[in-house]
Amino acid sequence: MALTPDKLSAIAHLARLGVEPEDLAPLAADLSSVLVLVEQLQAIDTEAVEPMAHPASASLWLRDDEVTETDQRDTLQAPAPETQDGYFLVPRVIE
């Protein structure tokens, strides 16, 4: 199943991944070869098989409802590229 550059462009947009126009075709070819590799899954009979999303069969551990995380804004915002007055900043979004 070949991936066209157009389709690749749409996927790249979903993933918000910038791809240079000149890279579209080679990347599409790369991915197509991976898809060939995974295509063989189609031939396997999985009729009565349940999907396995979690390897461990344990069920979810629940935590008590307690506030144990206090204000650490300064520490946690230290890695941020741009902040002001406690907010993270991004280019202006028009809604």
């Binding site: 991936l3 690749l8 996927i11 790249a12 947009h13 979903l14 993933a15 918000r16 991944l17 910038g18 791809v19 240079e20 990347l27 790369d30 991915l31 070869s33 991976v34 898809l35 060939v36 590799l37 995974v38 295509e39 063989q40 899954l41 189609q42 396997i44 999985t46 098989v49 349940e50 999907p51 396995m52 999303a53 979690h54 390897p55 461990a56 344990a58 979810l60 551990w61 935590r63 650490q72 520490t75 946690l76 915002q77 230290a78 890695p79 941020a80 590229p81 741009e82 993270f88 991004v90 280019p91 202006r92 979004v93």
Partner: protein
């Protein structure tokens, strides 16, 4: 001292034959000398290490010690460390200083270990050769024009070159075991959930596991002991009790039933690797084990299933790298879309982008059933194969990799060829089972790894077998020439 195993160094420290400060200074000097050629370390924290070593020596003087007190270790740069940057081998995290330590880092530090620095790796753990690091490839100490394996290539190389007593690695499709095999060291991927993933930057959440990489199984047992255990901060971490991994190291192998999948020993397997693995199996037979031929019928489907599931999970895990709250941000973003696409376009390397795209595709509307869901079902089949096999045998053995370390650039441009490196390793990740690789010979001067896989939570069994094997052989104590 660098040529001693971790266990031997621990004894020397305990007997005051050396101090941690001396051991650390020794390694720092070796790193200075050898790392430029290997590029195994991305960062060295000399000051931090010296301070921690001094603390360990004081603790020892006060009588507060454990088996790992004062032992120097390198952390794969995927584990968050508060003091120094955590890059994940990526431009997008080049200067990222995590505000917290990974649980693994804390546990080993609490056990008294001294962090020397962070180890190079394939970007976001995606790779089998450490050629996908933004910070340059890593050289295999055995032959420096060859790859060390990946994604924990830096960790494997530095342990093999004796630039630390041990290193941590992570394994999603073989990223501890395969580089361990390529570099002639011992590495174990524990059962999924055995080791906490908190602070261990996620690649594929249902497949990732952290584990130790060292020169012997005995060393790995000590490390795994300290690394393991339930963590309330990781909902996938297991509450299953952690046994004393070292207690069973010496157990006799008589009665051990080893399964040999016909699918692993097919015609395509390299002759040298096949013969060395067979020789290793014969050693184990002599020690009392019995060999039995078994089948893992879905073995051939493991790679395709893995290369749908891992990228799918990764495509979602890596969405948080968007230039907003941490990490690289592109210059002068024009608008939000531009911020996202250029930050991620410029910040991620080629292989990471490929996998994000494949993963996004596999999850997208119209393809989810055929790819993602299908792969999850195949995953169940793979797991069933192991369950079936373990009714008749105690462990499953085979070669860790289909080839020895290949040359740099040999496979770099061909993703699918690169993926086939994981042929024998991904099944353990898909089924969540523990797997170990231990050195069992050389081919053309390059190490060969023997892999063992056990049922869930039976890491002690794996360490025991590898340890007994290492008592009968000396592959694991060889030193690459030039690094004596």
């Amino acid at each position: 001292m660098h040529d001693k195993t971790l266990a031997q160094q621990a004894a020397m420290l305990q007997n005051s034959r050396i101090s941690s400060a001396e051991l650390v200074a020794h390694y720092l000097e070796r790193i200075d000398r050898y790392n430029p050629a290997l590029n195994a370390y991305l960062q060295v924290d000399a000051e931090g290490a010296q301070a921690a070593a001094s603390q360990a020596d004081q603790a020892r003087a006060a009588g507060n010690t454990g088996p790992l007190t004062g032992i120097p270790i390198a952390h794969k740069d995927i584990f968050c460390t508060k003091g120094i940057a955590t890059t994940c081998g990526s431009k997008i995290l080049e200067n990222f200083k995590a505000p917290y330590n990974a649980t693994v880092v804390d546990k080993l530090s609490d056990a008294g270990m001294v962090m020397l620095g962070k180890a190079n790796m394939d970007e976001f753990a995606m790779g089998s050769s450490n050629e996908n690091s933004y910070f340059g490839p890593v050289a295999n100490p055995w032959q420096q024009d060859r790859v060390p394996g990946g994604s924990s290539g830096g960790s494997a190389a530095l342990v093999a070159a004796q630039l630390a007593s041990a290193a941590t690695g992570t394994d999603t499709g073989g990223s501890i075991r395969q580089p361990a095999a390529f570099c002639g060291i011992t590495g174990i991927k524990p059962t999924y959930g055995r080791v906490s993933r908190y602070g261990m930057i996620a690649f594929a959440s249902s497949l990732d596991q952290g584990g130790p990489m060292a020169r012997t199984a005995e060393d790995c047992a000590l490390l795994l002991q300290a690394m393991s255990g339930h963590d309330v901060r990781d909902s996938t971490s297991s509450t299953t009790a952690v046994p004393d991994f070292s207690a069973e190291l010496e157990a006799e192998l008589s009665g051990l039933r080893i399964g040999l999948p016909t699918e692993y020993f097919g015609e395509g397997l390299d002759a040298d690797i096949a013969s060395h693995v067979q020789a290793a199996l014969q050693e184990l037979e002599k020690a009392g084990a019995t060999l039995k031929s078994i089948s893992l019928p879905n073995q051939q489907h493991c790679i395709p299933a893995y290369y749908v599931l891992a990228p799918a999970e990764a495509s979602s895990n890596l969405s948080r790298f968007d230039g907003v709250r941490f990490g690289y941000r592109c210059k002068n973003p024009q608008n939000l879309e531009d911020l996202y696409t250029r930050t991620r376009g410029e910040g991620f390397g080629k292989e990471v982008k490929r996998r994000i795209l494949i993963g996004t595709y596999a999850l997208s509307e119209g393809y989810y059933d055929a790819y993602y869901l299908k792969a999850q079902k195949v995953r169940q089949l793979v797991s069933n194969d192991f369950s079936e096999a373990f009714k008749d045998v105690d462990v499953i053995a085979g070669p860790t990799t289909p080839t020895t370390a290949f040359k740099r650039d040999e496979k770099h441009g061909d993703p699918t060829s690169m993926y086939l490196n994981d042929l024998f390793t991904v099944s353990a990740n898909l089924s969540g089972l523990p797997g170990i690789s231990a050195p069992c010979g050389f081919s053309g001067g390059l190490p060969i790894g023997l892999q063992l896989v056990a049922p869930a939570y039976q890491e002690a069994r794996l360490l025991n077998i590898a340890h007994r094997y290492q008592q009968l052989t000396d592959w694991h104590v060889q030193t690459p020439s030039g690094f004596e």
